[in-house]
């Protein structure tokens, strides 16, 4: 007699638009320039990192300043797979996810003892420790870093096919492959987070965010939930890190564990866009990319503008740009509200 629905008109429209976008995205390399593909690669990987950080902080309440640990360890594991084990780089990316998982377990064990600001600093210290330890791994270049050997980069799985398909040079084929992988990753991560929110766990996350005490009292295991969120985010962050550095083909501890690149900018994206929503990071990454393209050649002025925008948004739109938009328009592109449909129920919202 009663039915549960989450469908809204905006949601259906979004779903169709997203599907079209994904298909267009897949076909894009046929028409787009390499520059566009690379820009999109950057946007997609940053978006993935942002969605993952949003999952942690926005949904899980875990404000980590140490996500660069997982980017870095994922990237290094990928390099190790290629250089030391002779794996094909595409498979070695998976090793990056595994390594991130292995690092995430002791990290969570330690960091979950800490609260709030302590948690933030604690995760940062762990990332530093990881960086310093990796910097002692002489086989992978220590503090110097290392590059992917050319036989590896020229033999990446699938590039031959892409070359044949689009008639492009090897380097361009590599870009296209990396772009597709980034597209896959962002779709899986964003879709996964959306699915998570619409699953039982999504309710649990929302409940814990609203009131931990009450959440426990209806049987939600807040502790397990934190673990789950942290580990999922770590693994996917590790995969993303591996993919990013596959594209760069060169790694060093400072680059792979850069707190500014992989955490500070990511926080910037999420918070400017609007934390706790799927739309927020998307808006944020667009703002970030536009700023970067428009201003990056102005050196320090670019960074100063970035800093000032961060301050201004926090002062005048603390819920981020998407918060501003959805407060005005009531728009939710990714609806998660479960509505009860049936007799005697008021319209409500």
């Amino acid at each position: 007699m009663y039915k549960l629905t989450t469908r809204t008109r905006a949601g259906t429209a979004t779903a169709i638009a997203v599907l079209v976008l994904i298909l267009a995205g897949l076909a894009l390399p046929a028409v787009a320039s390499r520059g566009a593909i690379q820009d999109l690669f950057f946007i997609l990987t940053m978006l993935t990192l942002a969605q993952l950080w949003n999952l942690l902080a926005g949904y899980g309440g875990l404000v980590s300043v140490g996500q660069q640990a997982f980017v870095g360890i994922g990237a290094y594991a990928m390099f190790a797979g290629v250089i030391l084990l002779g794996w094909n780089p595409v498979w070695a990316i998976l090793l990056g996810g595994l390594a991130a998982l292995v690092l995430a377990i002791p990290t969570a064990f330690f960091a979950f003892r800490l609260q709030g600001a302590y948690f933030a600093i604690g995760t940062w210290v762990i990332a530093e420790v990881t960086r310093l330890l990796i910097a002692q791994w002489k086989t992978l270049g220590g503090g110097t870093g290392t590059s992917l050997p050319r036989e590896a980069t020229s033999n990446i799985l699938g590039t031959d096919l892409i070359r044949a398909l689009f008639g492009v040079r090897e380097a361009a084929a590599r870009d296209i492959l990396a772009y597709w992988l980034a597209l896959l990753l962002v779709v899986v991560v964003t879709g996964g987070i959306y699915w998570l929110q619409r699953s039982r766990l999504g309710l649990a996350l929302a409940a814990v965010r609203d009131n931990v005490e009450a959440a426990r009292s209806v049987g939600v295991d807040a502790g397990r939930l934190k673990w789950a969120v942290f580990l999922i985010a770590a693994v996917a962050t590790g995969l993303t890190g591996a993919l990013i550095f596959l594209q760069t083909a060169r790694i060093s501890p400072d680059a792979a564990f850069a707190v500014t690149d992989w955490t500070a900018y990511v926080i910037f994206i999420v918070v400017i866009g609007g934390i706790g929503t799927i739309e927020g990071p998307i808006v944020g990454v667009i703002v970030f990319f536009v700023l970067r393209s428009a201003l990056a050649d102005y050196g320090s002025w670019y960074l100063m503008t970035l800093g000032l925008i961060a301050i201004a948004v926090m002062l005048f739109a603390p819920k981020g740009l998407w918060g501003l938009i959805s407060a005005r328009s009531g728009l939710h592109l990714f609806p998660v509200r479960r509505r009860l449909a049936g007799p005697k129920i008021e319209g409500g919202n």
């Binding site: 520059g35 310093l132 910097a135 002489k138 086989t139 503090g143 050997p149 083909a249 060169r250 050196g299």
Partner: protein
């Protein structure tokens, strides 16, 4: 002719390495104004002293700006990501201002396994190597009366690992020249305490300190050494005292510190672009910028000399392979000396991609205001005149 030749240039214009880039604008202006520069367009990108960013902007120069040739300099942190990117992209790159070992070996997948090292197709580098450092440094030290015991300060970065490497770094060469090296181990840049090193040097009765140290760390070390009563006879380090501003920050304690010199106002070479001598180039820069000359000025200048020379000879400036061929065939004398990838003085594995420029040794002498860099050792490049003798610190 039609379209101009596009040169990409990645440079750390902001961030801690910005000192290397301070003459960029001056040199590029001079290049474009010169006869040879007319056919060129130079697109400069700021790496923000960040290796991630360096790789990124290199990519964007290649893909978006479709440059014909990449130029890069200013420490391995900047040259290596750019060179790696170019090599992977199949775009020729001329690189400088990094000793060739961290540049060449540092770009190999497994730096620890020489058997796996491979030459590059598109990446070419000119500067000097650690064997030259060894020759110059030992030449300077031999002018003094010491016990031959040397202490090394090598950080865990691209330079430090190359210099400190027990097989390919300074150690074997110093041994061969009759010096013994005490190396307490790699430290992290921006360490706040060097007691461990001072103690190790004292224990080993060290009289000479060497290394490749960033300026703040050197100041910290040198202050602590003096505070803890460690008084070496010579301190010969790279990087830390490269710029006169860094030496000035040491005050009196900067007097007679020594370092290798790769370019100076007294180098007897002329620019192929402007016809200026080294001295004129230095004086002109100072006149236009109000700042003292520094070693990178000559090398930034020379990058454009080489680029102009290569592109002048190339059969088809749009073909990467043709440009690489032209680079390999270079034989010219720039404001920093002879540049020719003929394999002279370079081990076989790197002979194709590395060419060496002359290196001498100098010592900072305090004058009324500021410091002078006086060349005190030129045995391996006698064409560069020496202006004094090495003096002991104590």
């Amino acid at each position: 002719q039609g379209a101009k030749i596009r040169l990409g240039y990645v440079s750390p214009q902001t961030g801690p390495l910005a000192g290397f880039a301070e003459s960029d604008a001056y040199n590029i202006k001079a290049f474009l104004a010169s006869e040879a520069g007319k056919n060129f367009e130079v697109i400069v990108k700021d790496s923000q002293s960040n290796p991630n960013r360096a790789a990124e902007v290199a990519k964007s120069l290649i893909v978006d700006d479709e440059i014909n040739l990449m130029l890069v300099g200013s420490t391995p942190e900047n040259t290596n990501p750019v060179a790696t990117t170019c090599e992977a992209e199949g775009v020729p790159v001329i690189s400088t201002m990094a000793p060739w070992q961290p540049w060449f070996i540092g770009q190999q997948g497994n730096p620890g396994d020489p058997a796996s090292w491979k030459p590059f197709e598109f990446a070419y580098h000119y500067f000097w190597g650690l064997e030259d450092i060894i020759a110059v440094y030992t030449g300077m030290w031999k002018q003094l009366d010491t016990n031959g015991k040397v202490g090394g300060l090598f950080p865990n970065d691209a330079d430090g690992n190359a210099w400190g490497d027990p097989k390919n770094g300074l150690k074997p060469g110093l041994d061969a020249a009759g010096f013994s090296l005490t190396d307490p181990g790699r430290y992290q840049n921006l360490s706040d305490d060097f007691t461990a090193q001072v103690n190790a040097f004292k224990a080993a009765n060290v009289e000479i300190v060497t290394g490749v140290v960033i300026p703040p760390d050197f100041t910290t070390f040198w202050n602590q050494a003096r505070q803890q009563g460690f008084k070496p006879k010579a301190v010969t380090v790279a990087k830390a005292i490269l710029f006169p501003q860094s030496v000035e920050t040491l005050g009196d304690a900067g007097n007679n510190l020594s370092s290798e010199v790769w370019w100076s106002a007294s180098h007897p070479f002329k620019s192929t672009l402007t016809g200026q001598s080294s001295a004129e180039l230095a004086a002109d820069y100072t006149a236009k910028s109000g700042r003292p000359w520094t070693q990178p000025i000559g090398f930034v200048h020379s990058l454009f000399e080489v680029a102009a020379n290569v592109m002048g000879r190339v059969s088809d400036p749009t073909k990467a392979e043709a440009i690489a061929e032209a680079i390999a065939a270079t034989d010219m004398t720039t404001v920093v000396g002879k540049v020719a990838w003929n394999g002279a003085g370079v081990p076989p594995f790197a002979a194709k991609n590395v060419c060496k420029t002359p290196l001498v040794g100098g010592q900072w002498r305090k004058k009324d205001s500021g410091f002078d860099l006086v060349i005190v050792e030129n045995a391996s490049a006698p064409e560069i005149p020496a202006a004094g003798k090495m003096e002991a610190l104590v």
